[in-house]
């Protein structure tokens, strides 16, 4: 079995992102970049499936600028066997990324595609579902458990209010939620080994796909700020304020 893990280079989750002074976009100058946390979980799941003897190959793929090779090298150090960069100077939207990934799937024919439920930059939560749609593959989003059962995949999903279990025919698409697993750290020997693993670069223009943007970013602003209130001295005072000033409890 072959597993494809699409992943994304995003600003590190510890970075506090602010708008540029002209509000044209967010300010990412000199910001630390990382693998999107949900994508790390996706890769970890794929590597564990391989380590359990249920897959032969894990391929990491990303769509992005040349610098995204750093994140692919990380993926290789974490256990991916080889990596593919579809290089694009333009930042692509989820619809375009899905079209590009569908092309990669066509070439690689994976049995399972695992990706993060959302990237922490755009917070769109679209790519997995769109890719599944384009390929007419079944989907299980927000996975908290993945079990392979012959030619099917059983997935427990986190839904509002609880958990849902679905069984998908392979090939299938799974998107990961936070609790699926806890990703490992790359060891130094594995980081060294990753440098020798295969990383293929393909220019997006060679794929013959229309990746032109469908939306325009008009402005980026800070959310309305909320002022700090008062510090109360005791529980008694807190309850008094909530009853008589805020009037939110009786």
């Amino acid at each position: 079995m072959k597993i494809l893990v699409p992943l994304k280079r995003v600003v590190d989750y510890n970075v506090k992102v602010r708008p540029l002074p002209d509000n044209s976009n967010v300010d990412l100058n000199n910001a630390k970049m990382s693998v999107n946390p949900f994508c790390e979980i996706a890769l970890e799941e794929a590597v564990r499936i391989k380590e359990a003897g249920n897959a032969e190959e894990v391929i990491a793929v990303t769509v992005g600028k040349t610098e995204s090779q750093e994140q692919l090298r990380t993926a290789l150090a974490l256990g991916a066997d080889r990596a593919i960069l579809i290089e694009s100077d333009l930042l692509l939207e989820p619809l375009a990324i899905s079209k590009v990934l569908a092309k990669v799937v066509e070439q690689e024919s994976p049995d399972l595609i695992i990706l993060g439920k959302q990237a922490i930059d755009g917070d769109n939560n679209q790519t997995g579902q769109m890719l599944a749609s384009m390929l007419d593959y079944p989907q299980a989003t927000n996975a908290s458990e993945v079990n392979l059962e012959g030619d099917k995949v059983k997935v427990t999903r986190e839904i509002d209010g609880g958990l849902q279990t679905l069984q998908l025919n392979k090939p299938a698409i799974v998107t990961t939620d936070l609790r699926l697993n806890e990703p490992r750290y790359a060891s130094l020997p594995n980081i060294m080994k990753a440098k020798k693993k295969e990383l293929t670069v393909i220019n997006v223009s060679d794929l013959g796909i229309d990746v032109n943007p469908r939306t325009e970013l008009l402005s980026v602003e800070l959310p309305p700020s909320r002022d700090a209130g008062i510090i109360v001295e005791s529980v008694d005072e807190l309850v008094e304020k909530l009853k008589n000033e805020a009037k939110v409890i009786t």
């Binding site: 619809l95 930059d121 997995g128 749609s133 469908r214």
Partner: protein, 309 residues
């Protein structure tokens, strides 16, 4: 222009987020149609007919849609999509699962999680865990949109004259199958619908200590939530999680206990009307958004609070 809102329900009643999504739809200029697809949905339809702001209901009652599988619902939505300039769903796990699948079939770049309608093609939405708000213009001829329910009021339920049209189901895809569901049973209100939410963070130290919040929540008729740190630490299940990667809530009163106030958490609760923070670290960022802060050891403050209610 015609607008389609896809209703979220559980085959017996409507989910509240459907009503907020209808309000977002009424911010656009056009006739609003509600699609209700499910199995044995007569009570849902009775409820739906009362929603103010909608003109028509399209119903599809078929066993195939009982569990709302995205694969089959997508094909149903596609079968009627031509007639609409807009298709909206709530930005819940239901809508997030379904709408991108529809968008890809229609070759539309969906706009996720909008918090306001600026014009017929321009919307505001949070990005980077709510650190920034983007204003986005869609140039697609059809707009597919998920709606953050806390940003729009619920549509009133005072309509009396909505026609219902039944449509045929679309043949099943048979590529995925529903196995089972575990919906957390609780006498307390659902997190996203509660007027009061009491949440615990890493400061709670263990799952057992959440009983300190439970008894307060019971007295206040509140829901119990948690920060991602508390969920990651295994104190409580993930469906407690409030934050950008969990649930977005905006109750009248939000009580944050032992929560430092990471941006990720604030993104999920900072639109609450009144915020209370109880934390022993006076420098915790949560105090910067709290209306009432109490610097105290939660293991002393919670029993005292419980006794006062």
């Amino acid at each position: 222009m015609s607008i389609l809102v896809i209703a979220e329900h559980d085959n017996s009643s409507l989910k509240g987020a459907t009503l907020n999504t209808v309000t977002a739809a009424t911010c656009l200029n056009g006739e609003v149609t509600l699609l209700v697809a499910g199995s044995n949905i007569s009570t849902v339809l009775d409820e739906a007919k009362k929603i103010s702001g909608i003109s028509n209901i399209i119903s599809c009652d078929d066993e195939l849609y009982k569990n709302f599988l995205a694969e089959d619902l997508t094909n149903l939505v596609i079968s009627i999509a031509d007639a609409y300039s807009y298709i909206l769903t709530p930005a819940t796990t239901f809508g997030k699962n379904l709408l991108p699948r529809v968008s890809a079939k229609l070759d539309v770049q969906q706009i996720s999680d909008i918090i306001s309608v600026e014009s017929e093609d321009t919307f505001k939405r949070p990005i980077y865990a709510g650190s920034c708000i983007a204003t986005v213009k869609s140039n697609d001829s059809k707009k597919l949109i998920t709606v953050r329910s806390t940003a729009f009021d619920a549509a009133p339920m005072d309509n009396t004259d909505v026609s219902v049209e039944s449509i045929d189901s679309v043949i099943g895809t048979n590529i995925s199958e529903f196995v089972g569901e575990e919906i957390a049973k609780s006498d307390r209100p659902e997190l996203t619908a509660a007027n009061i939410v009491v949440s615990g963070g890493r400061g709670m130290q263990s799952g057992d200590n959440f009983h300190l919040l439970d008894s307060i929540a019971d007295k206040l008729g509140a829901a119990v939530g948690a920060s991602r740190a508390a969920v990651d630490a295994g104190f409580v299940p993930n469906d407690y999680q409030v934050g950008q990667t969990g649930k977005i809530v905006a109750p009248d009163l939000y009580i944050a206990v032992g929560i430092s106030g990471a941006i990720q958490h604030l993104a999920g609760m900072k639109d609450s009307k009144v915020i209370v923070a109880i934390n022993k670290d006076e420098d915790a960022p949560i105090f910067q958004v709290a209306d009432y802060g109490l610097v105290a050891d939660l293991f002393e403050a919670l029993p005292a609070l419980n006794a006062q209610l």
